[in-house]
Symmetry: D2
Subunit: 293 residues, 4 copies
């Protein structure tokens, strides 16, 4: 039976570890937060006192951490994953971070005989609980193949998109389009309402035509009603737009709309909406037009 070391048992990591347990994996978890560990043991998992302990006996290690500094500390630090890996370990970083860190992990892993995949996800807490995440995977094809059984209980759309870092780049492209679409729908709502129209009715028409999108389908009602409970928080999307711009800088491309949308999301956060759903970008748009509260 495969032993999975799981490092980072937060909102996303915790239900993912549960799904792995349920699928029959041995899971040995590590997190700084005590209560996350308790939940894991309650479901039949084991608890490690350190990254090294979670790694040393594992066949597969998964990290699910907030951002690249945490990943770098856990991957490269003394007693970190690369330091503690047994030969042939498959290390899957499922955090959303900048591609360059993913590539560096892959390079250093290769030097130590550790196989590395970057595999960020989309689908949010709901998708993690239901095991229906979209997983975008970068790395060697044979390592992707080797990880199939591990991904299976976690996601529904599982795509190998390219070499090391590619998963992160596709995730960045995803967040660029998602953030920008929220901004556009927000501006459409403001235009409709300020023109005296029923925005819900107007968006119904948009949703049925070329302007249609998953966001219009799932969120137009809650946006018009100003219900912004998360979902995926502005704070996280703000972090992700930083990754988008980092990735653009590294790829030497210019993203004018992305650059602007990043600032609008920064505005949502600066205005105090960091804990709301990313659809709360509407609050920035209406504020700019002297509307809303």
């Amino acid at each position: 039976m495969t032993t999975v070391g799981f490092i980072g048992l937060g909102i996303m990591g915790s239900p993912m570890a549960s799904n792995l347990l349920r699928a029959g994996f041995d899971v040995i978890g590590y997190d700084l937060v005590e209560s996350s560990l308790e939940r894991l043991t309650g479901e039949g998992g084991q608890v490690a006192e350190s990254v090294a302990r979670a790694t040393s006996d594992a066949d597969v290690v998964i990290t699910m951490l907030p951002n690249f500094p945490q990943v770098e500390a856990v991957a490269f630090g003394e007693g970190g994953v690369l330091d503690s890996a047994k030969p042939g370990l498959l290390y899957i970083d499922m955090s959303s971070i900048r591609p360059q860190t993913s590539r560096r992990i892959a390079e250093e892993g290769a030097e130590r005989g550790v196989r590395v995949l970057d595999a960020p996800v989309s689908g949010g807490e709901r998708g993690a609980i239901d095991g229906v995440l979209s997983i975008m995977v970068g790395g060697a094809p044979e390592d992707f193949a080797a990880a199939a059984a591990v991904f299976e209980p976690l996601g529904r759309t599982i795509v190998h998109v390219g070499p090391a870092g590619a998963g992160q780049t596709v995730k960045a492209a995803n967040q660029l389009v998602v953030g920008g679409t929220y901004a556009l729908v927000a501006e459409a709502i403001v235009l409709l309402e300020a023109s005296g129209l029923d925005a819900g009715l107007g968006l119904d028409v948009l949703a049925g035509g070329l302007a249609g999108s998953r966001i219009l389908e799932l969120k137009r009602r809650t946006m018009v009603e100003r219900r912004f409970e998360p979902g995926f928080r502005i704070d996280l999307h703000h972090k992700d737009m930083g990754i988008v711009l980092d990735a653009a800088r590294e790829a030497e491309v210019a993203l004018p709309v992305g650059g602007l949308v990043a600032q609008l999301i920064a505005s949502a956060r600066a205005q105090g909406h960091g804990q709301l759903d990313h659809s709360a970008l509407l609050k920035v748009a209406e504020n700019l037009s002297g509307r809303g509260d």
Copy 2:
């Protein structure tokens, strides 16, 4: 039997008139271009030598013209629609123009006993031919009801979205979201390709998640393959972004993303791509990143 005066038999107007003929309406058409008139007579329609002649015996007049100056000339000019209407005429302007012109036609129509609807469409030449346009209608509810039989052979989604001008405002909101979505998808493609990835594969993932949209569904393949035959031309979307910004100015709202996207579409036109499909916004995005031809 209802007689429909149809003014403006271009790429959109011509197949719309054909669909009305096929549905059993008497159609009397007017256009400045001789060949458009010939087609109409070939299908059993009548030809008028002037706007006045197309209007004077009609129960319903439809105009389908390039922009507001043409609509104003036809609606308000000497021998124009309002001037030549018989009492109770139902005048439906299906052009995409700025809302303020639509409101002015409605006001002047009311003074002369003419019922007026603004009813811009989306769905393009294909939708016009197949009679499956989306029609966004502004005006009085009873006039919308009276127009039902006329709209029926033209469209599939036919929605009364509010009072005079409301159809145009919803159309503007639609074009804002469509133009912006193209810009976002274009930036995503540039980021993916410049990062060395297979953009088609990356967009497949995006299309399946929260970033998904009708545009990703219908256009991601042609965009990645750089096939930009229209479809809906950049030149027309450029005109429409002018309407979006006019409508925003009139509604006293600020649309930062819309304002930027309008300039990117203006760039596509300035770079000589006015006759290409609006998905050719990709050419601007890749040019900004020193890519493409």
Copy 3:
């Protein structure tokens, strides 16, 4: 002695007419506001009851009006300037309007033997009172030469910048740079203050280097102190950004920064700051960052 018909005796026009009187011109004024006319008579001017009366005996007609619809009405209307002009009239429109209207006046003027200049100004009410405006003049060189004596008491920098419409285009370029510079200084202030620094001290350094500008020189103190009494109002700059974007559309160019700045100025107006000085763009910038009131 030269007789000047002066149409539009508002905040700018009134002191300009006074300066012409003081320089020895016969001035016959027209305005819809009674009190403006009283001031003119008090200073030795004459009052006309109509545009036609202000024009018919004049050697030179100056219009100083809010925007192009007023100019078009006064220039082209029945009993308007072109209609009432004596042969050889020199018609100088000093309003800030879109270039295309200026060109149309010049064309129609040429057909009727009226010499036409577009001559928008910068320098504000203060510059109008002190007779030190900058005047940007479009039209034929010989007409510019003929107007020299009229411009002399009104301005200090008086430049013939090209053919009909050129004055308006240069004015538009000016307002683009001015509006954008305010936006940049505003963002610099927000960044400095949010970083815990003394923005006044920081801007002192900027003002002394390559970032230096007339705006930093004249306005950095009042901006940091949030004193926004006009000066030149947001409402007017909003109008002018409309001209900038119209001119860009006509010249078939893309102005991404201009397009965004136009929306930020629209935001200042939408947020209720239309009557404040254009430096109040700072209020939009700090609001976006969750700062200020």
Copy 4:
């Protein structure tokens, strides 16, 4: 006599070290490039074989390095400045880097009894040679006072702008305004030229009014003539816009215009103009409008 360790003898550092020698300081320099060291010895300086050697006997250490990773390596590395400092060392980092690194150096310096200033400059190679740089200094007032004699031969405008990191923040604000002003002047040139006007003449008018700026004063002629020899290179301004956005993120502010300008500068670099003067932002603007080569 004061001994200054000078680490980083590039385009800026080399003439700065020369000016310190000329002012009577003992300078012991370190650089990875051999030829830079030869120049130093030719002018009476000493050469160190390592950062540690350049630091261990110095009363003052200055670093002038490309970006924060180099500064972090030199400051924090084994045998780095903090590691090798004698008690009471005054460490002045004159590189342009993100404020957070400056603050971290100051904190770690304080723990080791090293006094730290961040002191980025503006004025370019010319200013470095002539000893007339603007120097923006962050740190403790007493350390600023202690550094006066060292700054004196290097700069003309030397301002203490706040605590640790403040120098970097002011420099970031400076580059934001400079980059944005170039973008605005570029758009003005494109608008004027595409309208058929003499851009040089138009900019002369702008330079004399509220739109006036140091950039218009110094660069309008070369921009209109498309002469883009540096000066300050696009590549460096691109780096600096990264610092601006990092600083904004850290200060939790939104900079919409800054965010867009950063992408336009990224575009200049992506289009292959990284080695040209930053005024070459004009090439992006004209390219967007289908103009230029």
